[in-house]
């Protein structure tokens, strides 16, 4: 059920209406019912995978907790807990791995050894990456004693399947989300208003900005040789498309959560204002970043073998570098996993490693940077330096988008080369090779104007948010006529400025 379909709109409206109509103690059951209807609308067979993850992580959570509480011998208890945890992780990540990465592995083997393994047809449950990460995060929290195991199966099932977030996140934490899901929520007009505004803003970003940018992105990335002078435009458009598509989807999801009185974690915090790649990942897909930090980075950094490596590095390279190297290595591992998470292709692994390498390099070079800044009398508080950092990060991020969007790594490299060598914006207007000829879409000045106008509006909103202003709160305090005008403008902007969102419903991250 696509977030832009009529079906979803009416489904969500029915869910919200019923939620406040039924007795409050039944609200969570209502959400569970609707979550399963939502998921089952994609097929009964895929629902079995969701049920499997729910049952295994539920049972494993209880077993891990029981091991810690009931086995008196601490060592034995730890071993037992570890065994259960390992089995659950293996099963769930195993399913994810087999369904998502088998064909990639087979193609790689074919490429390396000249074998001829054919592709296998697998059912890929929607949102499998998101719900697997969310439930495995819960399990690890229980194992580390950060959360208590949920003993009510149906309540736990709701945590895994909560319908607004299951397809494209945000990846929720049991400690923050669980209580909210099970609590009763009285009708709150202000919250509904905030939710509606957030949903409309999300649709605006998706339909008016991202769907216009996709015309250029598909044409340029789909025909890199034909549009060899437009690589820069292509990647800038992709930058706009990806942000507006993903963060727009998140706004819709979080807005729907608000309608139920549930506050979902924010996934974006004006990422293009980031001053470094590390900062970027604190602002972009935040819940994935924190998941990786808590469940991959720290365990890797604190592991026994890493301690050995740290000792060795300190001896070999000195105290400073020796302390930094293990962190660099952990970052590389984290971003390798991030790359793999993004998709079953080498280009995604390169995309992840590129980010990891920059962060690792920045870490190693940090003392040198400090010295250079001192020598050049550059203050961290200077506005010009801040702008320079933002521009530098934006360029670095855009380089990574080439890997993310291009067909494969060689194409990404070719497009980057062309961007440097053959930059020629006139290709947009040259007769005979207008954008759209190859992609089946039509290049229009209107589309460019809408993107530009939309980005300016987005920029203004982002600047205000960056200054700490709660725009939704300001909105709810306005006169009802002003509110009506804002709602009308946003609603009408969707059909007036937007492009059709494609056959699949179009959200990029809904494919994960």
């Amino acid at each position: 059920m696509s977030l832009v379909s009529m079906e979803f709109l009416l489904f969500a409206a029915a869910a919200v209406a019923g939620y406040y109509w039924i007795p409050k103690r039944c609200q969570w059951m209502w959400l569970l019912l609707f979550s399963y209807i939502y998921y089952a609308s994609g097929g009964i067979r895929v629902t079995c995978f969701l049920l499997f993850t729910t049952l295994t992580s539920y049972a494993a959570g209880i077993l891990v907790e029981q091991a810690a509480e009931k086995i008196p011998d601490k060592k034995k208890a730890k071993r037992r807990g570890k065994q259960v945890l390992a089995a659950a992780l293996l099963l769930n990540f195993g399913i994810l791995g087999v369904l998502k990465y088998t064909n990639f592995a087979l193609h790689t083997v074919n490429g390396l050894f000249g074998t001829e393994f054919g592709s296998l047809q697998f059912l890929l449950p929607l949102g499998i990456s998101f719900y697997t990460f969310q439930s495995m995060g819960y399990l690890l929290d229980v194992y580390w004693g950060r959360a208590k195991a949920e003993h009510h199966l149906f309540r736990f099932a709701l945590f895994v399947s909560f319908f607004p977030q299951i397809l494209q996140g945000p990846i929720g934490r049991f400690s923050a989300l669980g209580e909210q899901l099970y609590a009763s929520h009285p009708f709150d007009g202000k919250r509904i208003e905030r939710g509606c505004l957030r949903i409309l803003w999300g649709y605006f970003k998706k339909m008016a900005i991202a769907d216009n940018a996709v015309i250029f992105v598909d044409a340029i990335f789909g025909n890199p040789e034909l549009y060899d002078g437009l690589g820069l435009m292509g990647v800038l458009m992709y930058s706009i498309q990806l942000y507006c598509d993903f963060s727009g989807g998140m706004d819709v999801v979080i807005g729907i959560g608000e309608l139920f009185g549930i506050h979902l974690d924010e996934n974006f915090k004006r990422p293009y204002f980031a001053v470094s790649i590390t900062d970027f990942w604190h602002r972009w897909h935040i819940t994935l970043g924190t998941w990786m930090k808590d469940y991959v980075f720290y365990p890797v950094t604190l592991s026994g073998w890493m301690k050995h490596f740290s000792k060795f590095a300190k001896k070999a390279f000195g105290k400073q570098t020796g302390r930094t190297l293990p962190i660099c290595l952990a970052n590389l591992i984290v971003f390798f996993v991030v790359g793999v998470w993004h998709g079953a292709a080498w280009k995604f692994i390169v995309y992840g490693l590129y980010n990891g390498l920059i962060i690792a390099f920045s870490g190693l070079m940090a003392p040198a940077y400090r010295n250079w800044k001192k020598a050049l009398h550059i203050s961290d508080k200077s506005r010009a330096f801040h702008l320079f950092q933002m521009a530098r990060t934006f360029v670095l991020v855009n380089i990574s988008w080439f890997f993310d969007r291009a067909e494969d790594v060689p194409t990404a490299v070719l497009m980057m080369k062309n961007t440097l060598r053959r930059l020629d914006f006139r290709q947009v207007l040259e007769p005979g090779i207008e954008i759209g000829e190859a992609s089946g879409t039509t290049f229009t000045v209107v589309a460019l104007g809408v993107i530009l106008g939309g980005c300016l509006l987005l920029f203004a909103v982002s600047v205000l948010q960056e200054q700490g202003k709660d725009l939704a709160e300001i909105f709810t305090r306005q006169h009802w006529l002003v509110k009506a005008a804002v709602y009308l403008c946003l609603i009408l902007a969707l059909p007036v400025l937007g492009q059709p969102s494609g056959e699949s419903g179009g959200f990029i991250y809904a494919q994960f």
Partner: protein, 322 residues
Amino acid sequence: MRNFKKLLLPAVVALALAAVNFCLNYALIPYSYVRIMMHQIETQEYDTLFLGTSHGLNGISPKIIEEKTGGRAMNLCLGGEYPKDAYYLLKQACKKSSPKTVVYELDPGYWCTPEGQRGDFNRVFYEMPWSLTKLEYFFAKEWKLDFRAALFPWFYYRSQFRQMEEILAVKRGQEYQNFGAGPFQNEGQGYADGFMQNALATGPKPEGKLELWDEQEKNEDSFRYFEKMQAFCEKRGIRLIVITTPVPSETLEKYAEKFEESDRFFTEYLKGLGLEYWNYNRPERKIKDFDYSLNVYTDYEGHMWAGQAEQFSAQLGEDMIQ
């Protein structure tokens, strides 16, 4: 008073939206022959109904069929009409008519491609009078699509704002009030005698992107709704005939394998359903003295010009009465 205030905002937004929608629907959605079709099936009874795609719309003259069969005929084929659309059009038509025969024009491309959001189907939904069938059609089709298609019917016509004056002039004219076809006449084509008549086009013909049969890409919905259509006809004692219109010999030669594959598949499939399949591209169905060369077609896809359509319809009528 407080409750009234709470309701004021959504009520004002909804009313304003309804008003804007009403005005833009009127000003942006051009007059279409679908309106004539809908009016005709609402007000008249027919013995033969034709359903199918743009090939049928351009290639079947109900007037010639009427001359041959003696009964009243109506062409309900449309560009972008999938079996799902055909099924609901048939249901709507059968509210007034009790047809004896339904001829479904099969274009294999519509059985192996996903349904688009554009084309005439949106007009079908828009022009269809409020009924249970319209509601069913909504849940079958609009339900899954981008919500703007259903909430803002003018969405797909928003780029026509430059023609607004023209659209309004047509809608205020007599032809529109009387369901006339005058506004659809232009140099290239015109809607007359119940079908879209193409002028004889000279010069190079566009090949475009031909949607050829691909069994791997079967659109299950097309099969499901065709079978629903068959069950509907069977229940009402309607004879259902399936045809494929002739395409240019150049196209047939170029994609011989695909056309043969499609013929084999659909012959077998329709035989399994106990239905007749008249594929006019098969050698035994070749029409005498019919010019199959690309010169007399509008394009490679096989949209006929009016003269050819009449010749083809005469043959189709003959075959129907035999």
